[in-house]
Symmetry: C3
Subunit: 669 residues, 3 copies
Amino acid sequence: MSHHPRHRWLRWPSEPDRPRLAFGADYNPEQWPREVWRDDVRAMRTAGVNIVSLAIFSWARIQPRAGVWDFDWLDEVMELLHGHDIAVDLATATASPPPWLTAAHPEILPVDRDGHTRWPGARQHWRPTSPVFREHALALVRALAERYGAHPAMAAWHINNELGCHNAYDYSDDAARAFRLWLRQRYGTVDGLNDAWATTFWSQRFSDWEQVLPPRLAAPGSFPNPTQQLDFKRFSSDALREHLRAERDLLRALTPDLPVTTNFLLMGDGNTVNYPEWAAELDFVANDHYRLPGPQGRDELSFSANLIGNIAGGLPWYLMEHSTSAVNWQPVNKAKLPGELARDSLTHVAHGADAVCFFQWRQSAGGAEKYHSAMIPHAGEDSAVFRSVTELGATLRDLAAVAGTPREPARAAILFDWDSWWAAEQDSHPSDRLRYRQEALDWYTAFLELGLRADVVPAGGAWERYELVVAPVLYVMPAALSQRLHAYVGAGGHLVTTYFSGIVDEHEHVWLGGYPGALRDLLGIRIEEFAPLHDDETAELDDGSTGTLWTDRIDVVDPAVEVLARYKTGEMAGRAAITRRAPGPGSASYVSTRLGPAGLIPLLAGLAARAGVTSELPAALRGQVELAVRGPHRFLINRTDREVDVSAVAGPGSALAPRAVLVVPQARS
Amino acid sequence: MSHHPRHRWLRWPSEPDRPRLAFGADYNPEQWPREVWRDDVRAMRTAGVNIVSLAIFSWARIQPRAGVWDFDWLDEVMELLHGHDIAVDLATATASPPPWLTAAHPEILPVDRDGHTRWPGARQHWRPTSPVFREHALALVRALAERYGAHPAMAAWHINNELGCHNAYDYSDDAARAFRLWLRQRYGTVDGLNDAWATTFWSQRFSDWEQVLPPRLAAPGSFPNPTQQLDFKRFSSDALREHLRAERDLLRALTPDLPVTTNFLLMGDGNTVNYPEWAAELDFVANDHYRLPGPQGRDELSFSANLIGNIAGGLPWYLMEHSTSAVNWQPVNKAKLPGELARDSLTHVAHGADAVCFFQWRQSAGGAEKYHSAMIPHAGEDSAVFRSVTELGATLRDLAAVAGTPREPARAAILFDWDSWWAAEQDSHPSDRLRYRQEALDWYTAFLELGLRADVVPAGGAWERYELVVAPVLYVMPAALSQRLHAYVGAGGHLVTTYFSGIVDEHEHVWLGGYPGALRDLLGIRIEEFAPLHDDETAELDDGSTGTLWTDRIDVVDPAVEVLARYKTGEMAGRAAITRRAPGPGSASYVSTRLGPAGLIPLLAGLAARAGVTSELPAALRGQVELAVRGPHRFLINRTDREVDVSAVAGPGSALAPRAVLVVPQARS
Amino acid sequence: MSHHPRHRWLRWPSEPDRPRLAFGADYNPEQWPREVWRDDVRAMRTAGVNIVSLAIFSWARIQPRAGVWDFDWLDEVMELLHGHDIAVDLATATASPPPWLTAAHPEILPVDRDGHTRWPGARQHWRPTSPVFREHALALVRALAERYGAHPAMAAWHINNELGCHNAYDYSDDAARAFRLWLRQRYGTVDGLNDAWATTFWSQRFSDWEQVLPPRLAAPGSFPNPTQQLDFKRFSSDALREHLRAERDLLRALTPDLPVTTNFLLMGDGNTVNYPEWAAELDFVANDHYRLPGPQGRDELSFSANLIGNIAGGLPWYLMEHSTSAVNWQPVNKAKLPGELARDSLTHVAHGADAVCFFQWRQSAGGAEKYHSAMIPHAGEDSAVFRSVTELGATLRDLAAVAGTPREPARAAILFDWDSWWAAEQDSHPSDRLRYRQEALDWYTAFLELGLRADVVPAGGAWERYELVVAPVLYVMPAALSQRLHAYVGAGGHLVTTYFSGIVDEHEHVWLGGYPGALRDLLGIRIEEFAPLHDDETAELDDGSTGTLWTDRIDVVDPAVEVLARYKTGEMAGRAAITRRAPGPGSASYVSTRLGPAGLIPLLAGLAARAGVTSELPAALRGQVELAVRGPHRFLINRTDREVDVSAVAGPGSALAPRAVLVVPQARS
């Protein structure tokens, strides 16, 4: 969890104290002839761009071969930008090693689980643990810092790019060596490791550190050691962080006045990096986000922005990349509908973003992402996309007062935890259908449908201040976390948790005596066996809702437990499905099946009401708009494709266009 | 096929001659602190446990590094068990090599078809043909035999574990060398091999043994030599048997008084080991079985138990592993319903099991199988599972008289053959949808639905004594097998066979002149071309049934052939679909399509009636209960989830609870 | 595109000038004992066989080890065939290296994208770029040419077999070396390569040729450089052509009087070889074709035959392989229906084939293709298949006058282009659902349904003579091709093109300024963004048709553009979906969605009518029969499974049986 000992925002080259939202893009001038550059800066001014990220994939251009440097073009671009008052977030350019480096040192190429080398041709073909790569990368960082550290255009450093997006899991011998060192640090002794990994099972007991390996391809039809798998995910996130720290430490030593960041990629199912543990490494948090298709696509964007906002400690963060329209990497890549460009951008702002940037400025004519939309599309400036971009630039200029205002915490929270995400979806479990993030997202959608604000907060964060805390599938529960939850309820907090929560400790060892071992007493129930459902099975509840995926055979142990719903059919008929125990002013509720948004809405309505958490929105707006609050600013985001009547908050006759966003002063009701 | 020259059952440490059924589990005390061990033996006594399998995955615990042995803990466990009159089936502990061994000798790791090394992390990461692994494994066997061979708790040796479950197919250079030796032994000369493999096709003719390889990954879109593929399956089964023999021979030399077994894994689609060829290697047969989900799950359990019973020659066998409830390795792992634990166990007993054991005694807190149920679940002794276990222990004690009684053969049999299983599902065939075992299982279900007992017997076994023999998809038909079938019908036997039977010889060379070449005259029909069906196609028959998967364009050659059903539609309309030829008192019938259980029931009813095979059950019970007979004991197994009225066999008003089993004395009707 | 500077047809051993159609098969006598050979030639005479392809997979039989040759058996077979007046198309036997060669030189084995060696066991396990393989292959070619070049049975040489069917994509170091040489030749300088591949993207800029690699397995979740991918496909086709040329050059040097061919495999989705670029290498074109299952299977056969006929420049070509009935390599392999054997054969003849041959003469008893049908099936000569074969032999004898007559060009054409096929289906595109060939085939089916003849012609061919040219998904459009299309319309031609046409140049760089950049002015429209559809989405048009897969957000730029249909629903409602611009007598039409055959039929009816292209068939026959014309011969092919009344063309009361073909003299209407 981030504590942000030294949060430092962008160092604006001009009028550093004037409040403003940053607006811009990745800028890749090396893809275009020089004559286009002047067009670029002119159009940037038109659009209201005030910052660009530069040189992200320029290593091969800057250092065309070992020992040879070519900065002239970059000098010229920096000057040109600065001359037009466009600040620079300069990349360290280490994201993808150039061909000369991988040709000379193929031992920096990652190796996958099956033993395949991952060759150049795409990007991020480097082992996070390679000492050879590290040496060359730091030499590049040093060269850039020495040349541009004092350049007046510089607003920040941008380390590498989307660390871990394509090379998080490397099973090479370099990785094996680093994994052993990491494990030594974690467990001290080989026997500590043996205990944590339960190696007495299947004859896996180590007698020497040198015997330990990453979870490489194992015997078919069998399951590699689960704690080995879990620790390898932890290690892989940490190994990438080591690289981040190495670049950052060098930058801080050489250019102590410049803030340093890297762009996270918190979106969708990507979970290779434990971002809450990374936030404190940086001067400010940055994120890349691409909206996904499907009915919950917009809610997922809000969910991710919300979580990033909390990872950033409520302080402003930088939306480093999103798209103006279609992306190129989905199976089917749809252009955005009218209004979506602005709505997506402003939703991020609503959750704390003080910078709204895109990949990329000008759509590439060649290369693997030429069908990824940009601020200037293939069609050129005479295009709906560029007009929308320019409008957005103006909107952001009008919202300058938002800059720097902190997120206003909600009264309810959803806990989100990387350990549980990693572990709950591992193999050899009661069900391989469980999707950790989806359950959390469903609760988030239910909050939105009810017009209730909820923060998505890391489980390691400071969530005790919330009146209602939903902790779905909080599978991994170290003793300390269990104690915090007990204390929270004891202090009057209202906890809601679900199936497959509180089951294991940090080593994925089961808390014994009946599930959920770590919460059994707090919930007043006991489960002897899990009862997951096949894809074609459902469980009917007597409150009219329908469960899928999972059920539990619950025994109510504490007679004071209130049964909120029971199973209606099958072997479980009559048994408790949803329970609530209120040992004092606080309460602990348990939901034993997957209800989906439709089933969660009425349930959450009741639970929130009993926790005293009510909507800040007029009834007519609940579910129609999302509300987010930054300081005195209320963001009303139309979640629908229909016009929404917002007279209740914005004066008689006010309407919010489909997918539109309205920013109004904080009501004092 | 097993001839059991020296069947020897467990050597009970106390009262060796008292009849009893064995009851117990795999016991893995090394996963728990010493203080749990005393609890274990106390609870074992409570549950009625009289035997455990020990040390199955203990290699790394027993031999923590090369040359270092640690037997103290095992000595203590052996003493503790013996002190509580619990016998020990001691494993040779060779199932999974310890980390020090694979670290020092990575050349024992298997290599898969694609050339990937299969690394440690799970289990069974050893090449069956590795001389290095063999040497270390036998050293361990010797150490265990020398230390515990004379221990009074010893009831039997348990070699390795589920041989071939995860390492059956190894394509390493060790495997290549062993494969060549196996082929030399089989074919004598390179030209013998060339003829058998039809290597004139695609320029594959060998001029030297050294050129021969396992069927490693070949050119994409093409098909490796089919006889090479088939022989590699045969070789791989034999290579594992070589390992079995090596351990067994050493044990027999060192401890001639102790019986030796290994646990088969005959269940579902697993077909890496040709178990009928293994039975005679052992003093008694043991099997592991886990019931699969789906509508035929219970029937498949019975089918497998039945086949194991016949592989064991009708003599008692040992159910080494099954589950008390959920397993951990299916996509969705359901707990067992009330009654299923006992019903599954007793169904095995009904088919000849004299030992009912589970994996495992106490559910693990960590490791890859921690969500696999056990006799003591995570919830502890105060649990429905442990209460059911204890009840089962009592039931088995009451059934002590069953011990040692042989299976009573049925009057009908289903032939089951590994060569046909392996070969019929190979690539480049008329259809890749054919599933050998499923067709056999469907006939088995039809027998059960009609209340007819049928034995599942290896095609190499002594099936001539049966009045009705169903041989579905008996694709591989060496001349000798064809001659046996001809003689059987000639002697008055009633043979039923199906599509894709009698097509090829042992080298998978087609019997020419029209299909089915090896049975054409016996059946009185001739087929020029196969007519398999696409997934969305069906074939309507004029008896109201519907075929899928396959049809044949049958010409009736012998005018005496009786056509039992004809195709009704399409290009085949009017042609024979099911035929019967009765050249004398015997008959040979042919079913040219896949009818599934629903279609087979009426067909089989007629065929059985004409063969004079009738149900031993009162009409009201047929289909509702499965009947199995051991000596004077009749097992009535409720196949349904409803209560079944069994007054007709157990006295007025008697009812069999859902999923319950009743054992009654043999009726003399 | 082929110019056939030296088209030479078969050199018939007897009566070389007598017109005849060739009829025969691959003949593999080495699979059978000598006593079968005499039966073979007798039955060949019965069937009317006059040519066989010999020794295709005989390398291991001819050269059983290095330096050892065995020609005796082949001498005997050649004599036997010649003695029965059966000509020989002798293979160079290089298709699959023998075991002794790969055992001695494993470095000739291909390596796949993932780095896996592709081992022997199937066929074509050789690297096209291996100098070691080349040397051994040419030694074999020389030996065969020296021994049989003057043999009187010789009618032609048959180089290798289906080049590239299983080894087209090799990623080995040999391939890397050859790829670099190919790129040097194409681009001259490293910077030329850098520009073409747009390597400034993702830091891929090369500073030395040695850094360039094939597109081996790259970082997961990322996309290898698209131009690298496209060039690797081009290179791989060319590398195979280099092998072809090497064998051919040697044959031409040693036996200048014998024509040389190789069998293409133009069918279905196979697109590894750019056949239009290969045709001119050969004395005559040969093709293998296997009809695929599904509703467009027959049309696809016609489509492929048509295209091969045009690749052959309208001159006679050789159908080297097709099947008499079932094949062995589909998931479900169906026998042919009555009539299909002849219909398939004669459809090829209708499109220019002067040779009708099968794989193979006698169905194998063993090996990977034993379930592939043949002229003599497993059932023997007493079989429906052999009777159909004999009937076909007689039919072909009666059609001798067809031999040598050229295909009569149609008035309409469909352009077909390998560059667009390869590039349009690459990754990181707007949709990964697009299937290039399927769109072309749908247009072909629409032509057939309307009774309109259309030629399928390579985009590089001479298509200016056609009055109507349909160019579906002509994605890759070098400037020269765009100019040709402009000139064509300018000269009065009628062009129809579709979504995702004219988008990129030969390096897959986008033509900027709005799509379709290369055709924007010609079509009078402009598209800012693509709008592909998800699988569950459709687009309704106001002409009643329904689009799938794709839509475009069209702006009509030229007010003279006629909108033929508009979108009815969704965000695109009211926008143009199908447009037509006629700047003079010619026109350029655009179809922005995938309509499928049902939607294309009415659209094409209108477009053809306005282009003045009308059916040559009486109304009653349109859609029922396919018409193809060779010189004075009109082929009427019944496309249906019903009898068709053909009185209008063949006299009162004439009927065409289901799947039958009628050849009538050219009508002069």
